[in-house]
């Protein structure tokens, strides 16, 4: 039984609700372990590790998201699932459909649940539990030899509300009762049954996973069998909660593979790097002990021989009759294999680097040709690019990249404000500081030393919390509403009023829907609404009921879904009208066709971005708007280089200040399914992208808002920024690739540098496709 994201403390600590598990441990039926799961701590690579015993390829972390892909299949690789199948076992599998993707043909009976629809906590697990009635019954038990269950609800709660979410204790109790059921009907009745409860990975302090922080790699593992009573392990649960996730023995998660194979009498999968769990050795007689270890050692020996390119016999290296030498050998072989298990294809790497270097040279040539009259400016830009990119050679600078952007941005802000006496300077600097304080991004020390406004707001008491959140979200949206109408009126003509009115109404409608979705998601994530509306103030429950009556439903998820599909419809119409406005004006020969074109585009797009942003981060858009307006007042249009640089700086700074980092664990999936009723790879991929790259998209449009002017030089100005951006990414990307190549045997290559490369690819996607494409479309439709 795999419980997704079951961190060790959820099973064993004194704050855990799994009291039955504690009882099992105290009675000696169960052995608890803290199992180290190798990064990337994402479900697909972890399942590969748990079944084959090997360390994962990094590409699996990406394939984990691309659900429809089949190249991640494990059909040919050796695993204990394959061994069971080969021995004629019947395997039933219920739960996460990642298993079905890994082993398409081994299961006798299956029911897969999609793992990415994270806003659902209950149905996804009920779909697994409903099979237990039959499978655990007398006749049901005859039909299987191995039953695999994979529960996803706990992981979903983590993604939505973190490890301390209001729904967490209830979910732990639910899992505990499932464990009780399985124990009572199988383990207790048959002493030859082995029951494994485990998490495939843990979660960090905010409930995400993918990286290598201690919480993410410390998964819980529980082995249950009547036979373990013999061991007299003396483990006592619960253990006091501790920050180091130190619960019982520490093992590697891949150790489960040889252990399981040995205990069940199967062959050890050939690619396994794990070693037999030492504390289970006393189960065997003295002679069998050595046999168990020799079996494991011989299997590992094949792999070490392969990596050393020489074949020797095990007897010639060590004394196989001594337990301790065998254990030492296993330990050393595992360490050696874990280190050398990476394999590089140098030809492909060489072509990649050469291609990238060519692009970088090309963009540099274009960049300097374009700046031939302003070489000084160009070299300062280049200096900044290189200063930024050399930081890729240090792992801590990648983990803490937001510091770099903060440093460069304040430097830049100081340089434009120091000579100016305008009060906009203060607004700019203060808003930048608030932007930083909102999430205090970063992978280390970010919780210890800094206050986060977002966390503070989210943790306010029920009396005041909803009011503050409603006020913050509403005032942010209202600011956009009024920003779009300011100056819409066309002087001297009567139609100005109509335009103003229509724009205001459509924007307000969008704002209202956005407000409702964000506020409802705040309420449902902070309070337990399923057990009634008692926890929240009256006006909130009235509000929910009012919306519910309008939409004819009471379920909060359905309400949100319907609101989102309404939002998309209204938004698509609004953005189409705004984009085509100059064209209509020109056709009907109305005055000033381009009036407030970019302003309404920016505002309407911001509505989409806000609707895809976590409610915590919505007020950041207010700060972004103030920063944009202040910057507009401080820097004249003629200083194009400053505006282009500012765009790059703000794109990156605000990306990080939304709470994202260069770790895979900070990818936000909570808004990927807004308004979708089923899994759709393209749409949810797009929504995930918008939700994570909202700030860069905002600033890309903001550049147009700053520079699109009716003087016919718009394409020149756009070209300037795109060239600066292209040069920036090609220069820094080249250095990043070189750094990764140089450090390919570095300890952190899979945990720090590889995620950075994946992020960088996503940045290029953002830069080249969305940013460039969107800018070109908006500029092309700017018709005078």
């Amino acid at each position: 039984m795999v419980i997704d994201a079951l961190r060790a403390d959820f099973l064993f600590s004194n704050e855990s609700q799994m009291t039955f598990v504690h009882g099992l441990i105290n009675d000696g039926y169960a052995l608890g372990y803290t199992a180290y799961s190798n990064p990337p701590t994402v479900t697909l690579p972890r399942l590969k590790g748990i079944t084959t015993g090997s360390t994962p390829n990094f590409i699996d972390a990406v394939l984990n998201i691309a659900e429809e892909d089949t190249s991640s299949s494990l059909g040919d690789q050796d695993s204990w699932v394959k061994q069971m199948h080969a021995s004629g076992w019947k395997i039933n599998m219920f739960g996460d459909d990642t298993w079905l993707k890994l082993f398409p043909s081994y299961f006798a009976k299956t029911d897969g649940t999609a793992s990415f629809y994270v806003s659902d906590f209950t149905i996804v697990d009920n779909n697994v539990t409903r099979h237990l009635d039959y499978e655990l019954s007398k006749e049901g038990q005859k039909d299987w030899d191995c039953l695999i269950l994979h529960y996803l609800g706990l992981d979903h709660i983590g993604h939505k509300g973190g490890p301390t979410s209001a729904s967490m204790p209830a979910k732990q109790r639910e899992m505990d009762s499932v464990i009780r059921r399985i124990f009572k009907s199988t383990v207790e009745k048959d002493e030859n049954t082995l029951f494994v409860v485990m998490g495939d990975h843990g979660m960090n302090e905010v409930g995400n996973h993918g990286g290598s922080s201690i919480g993410e790699v410390s998964a819980g593992l529980l082995l249950v069998s009547s036979k373990f009573k013999k061991l007299q392990s003396g483990q006592k649960a619960p253990v006091r909660r501790n920050a180091d996730f130190d619960y019982f023995d520490h093992i590697d998660q891949i150790d489960l593979v040889p252990t399981l194979s040995t205990l069940l009498g199967l062959r050890i999968p050939i690619n396994n790097l794990g070693t037999f769990i030492q504390s289970l050795l006393p189960l065997y007689s003295a002679k069998d002990k050595t046999n168990v270890l020799i079996k494991n050692a011989l299997q590992l020996k094949v792999l070490t021989d392969k990596s050393r390119n020489e074949v020797t016999s095990l007897d010639s290296e060590i004394d196989v009759s001594s337990l301790s030498t065998l254990l030492d050998f296993l330990h050393d072989a595992k360490g050696e294999l874990l280190k050398t298990s990476s394999d590089y294809n140098y030809t492909d790497i060489f072509y990649g680097v050469a291609g990238y270097a060519f692009t970088a040279l090309l963009s540099l040539a274009l960049f300097f040709t374009h700046h031939r009259d302003r070489l000084w400016e160009a070299s300062v830009d280049l200096l900044f690019f290189i200063l930024y990119a050399v930081n890729f050679f240090g792992s801590s600078m990648i983990e803490e990249e937001h510091h770099l952007w903060w440093f460069f941005t304040t430097l830049f802000a100081a340089s434009i404000t120091v000579k100016s006496k305008s009060s906009y300077c203060t607004a700019l600097l203060v808003c930048l500081r608030l932007l930083k304080a909102w999430n205090n991004s970063g992978q280390k020390n970010n919780i210890k030393s800094n206050m986060k406004i977002a966390t503070y707001v989210a943790s306010l008491s029920p009396d005041i919390g909803p009011v503050v959140v409603a006020f913050l979200v509403a005032s942010t949206l209202a600011t956009y509403c009024f920003y779009v109408t300011e100056g819409v009126a066309v002087k001297g003509k009567g139609d100005g009023t109509i335009v103003r009115f229509v724009t205001f109404i459509s924007t307000s409608l969008l704002c209202f829907i956005t407000f409702s979705t964000k506020f409802l998601s705040y309420l449902s994530e902070t309070y337990d609404l399923r057990s009634g509306l008692k926890e929240i103030p009256d006006w909130c429950s009235n509000y929910i009921q009012w919306i519910g009556q309008r939409l004819g439903t009471t379920d909060i998820n359905t309400i949100n879904q319907q609101l989102f599909s309404l939002f998309y419809k209204v938004w698509l119409v609004a953005i189409a009208l705004h984009l085509l406005k100059p064209l209509f004006y020109k056709i009907w020969k109305l005055p000033d066709p381009t009036n407030n074109y970019t302003r309404s585009i920016l505002t309407t797009f911001s509505q989409l971005l806000i609707s895809q942003t976590n409610f915590n981060n919505v007020p950041i858009f207010f700060l972004l708007l103030v920063i944009l307006v202040s910057f507009k007042k401080l820097v004249p249009l003629s200083n194009l280089n400053a505006i282009s640089l500012f765009t790059i700086l703000m794109q990156n700074l605000s990306f990080f200040q939304f709470g994202f980092t260069n770790s895979l664990s900070s990818v936000d999936l909570t808004n990927s399914f807004n308004g979708l009723s089923s899994y759709n790879m393209i749409l949810s991929g797009l929504l995930t992208f918008v939700c994570n790259w909202a700030a860069p998209i905002f600033w890309s449009l903001a550049y147009l808002h700053l520079t699109l002017k009716p003087d016919g030089r718009n394409w020149d100005r756009l070209y300037h920024r795109l060239l600066v951006t292209l040069t920036f990414y090609s220069v820094s990307g080249l250095l990043l690739i070189l750094s990764c190549y140089n450090l390919r045997f570095h300890l952190f290559i899979w945990t720090v540098f590889s995620p950075k490369i994946l992020y960088f690819l996503a940045w290029i996607m953002c830069g080249l496709l969305v940013d460039f494409g969107l800018s070109c479309i908006v500029t092309a439709l700017y018709i005078k």
Binding site: W376, S396, E399, V418, L429, M451, N641
Partner: protein
């Protein structure tokens, strides 16, 4: 015209050494072509008069800065316990600053008068005390500025406040010794000082000392995010060290410049 132009450019180029230095601020080199840039206000600005300044002297070098850094690390053991060290060192640090003020004031007076050596009189002592008090209060706006530029508050408010106090005594206090509030044009002078409009700043030893401490403090943040796991990487040790070393370096540069000119 060309000489006047050159002088004005140097005014602008000053900002290169200030904390406001821009990674892309153009026109920092005399003789470089003037780019189209909003930052380049040089052409519109009237020529500024040089501020009166004491001629650089060996005695004006802030040796106490180095002494304070040494004492913080080796006597107060700041890297293992930050706040207690800052707490217990405050009195000694302020005394050292006061002592530097005394020396500086005497040096400036004797240089200016160029007469026989005299000690400070009662009025000057009172002025020193008042300057110290003003510097203490100037720590409050400096704290706000530090905050705006990203200093942490919350569990680290106290450390940031101490940093502001130290910075105030490194910047405001020495400047108060030269540009007295009792001077006739004190208002204009201080506005120019605070907006970094000081021509020929590299000849102005006390001003460069203050600027050096700001630059040092600014650059002091760099080691903090590195994963060396040393205890001296804690906030605000690197910034303090940077500020003190920077103040000495700034003063030294100005002094050496005056010797080799």
């Amino acid at each position: 015209m060309s000489s006047a132009r050159k002088k004005v450019k140097k005014t602008v180029s000053f900002s290169r050494n200030s904390p406001s230095l821009s990674d892309r601020n153009p026109s920092t080199e005399p003789g470089s072509p003037v780019p189209e840039s909003a930052f380049d206000l040089a052409d519109e600005e009237p020529k500024l008069n040089e501020l009166p300044k004491p001629s650089p002297a060996f005695m004006l070098l802030p040796f106490h800065s180095l002494a304070i850094v040494y004492a913080l690390f080796h006597h107060y053991n700041i890297s293992s316990k930050v706040t207690p060290a800052l707490n217990s060192s405050t009195l000694a640090v302020l005394t050292l600053h006061f002592g530097f003020g005394l020396i500086a004031l005497t040096t400036i007076k004797n240089k200016n008068k160029a007469k026989r050596h005299r000690g400070p009189n009662g009025g000057e002592l009172v002025y020193l005390v008042i300057s110290s008090i003003i510097s203490c209060f100037a720590a409050i706006p400096i704290f706000v500025i530090l905050l705006v530029f990203g200093a942490p508050i919350g569990s680290l408010t106290k450390e940031t406040a101490f940093l502001a106090l130290h910075l105030s005594f490194l910047t405001v206090f020495p400047l108060l010794l030269v540009y007295k509030l009792t001077d006739l044009d004190a208002g204009d002078t201080w506005i120019r000082l605070l907006t970094f409009q000081v021509p020929a700043f590299y000849k102005n030893q006390v001003y460069l000392q203050a600027m050096g401490s700001l630059v040092g403090c600014w650059l002091g943040v760099i080691p903090i995010p590195l994963d060396w796991d040393r205890d001296w990487q804690q906030w605000p040790i690197t910034l303090l060290t940077g500020a003190y070393v920077g103040s000495f370096a700034g003063s030294l540069i100005s002094y050496l410049y005056s010797i080799f000119e």
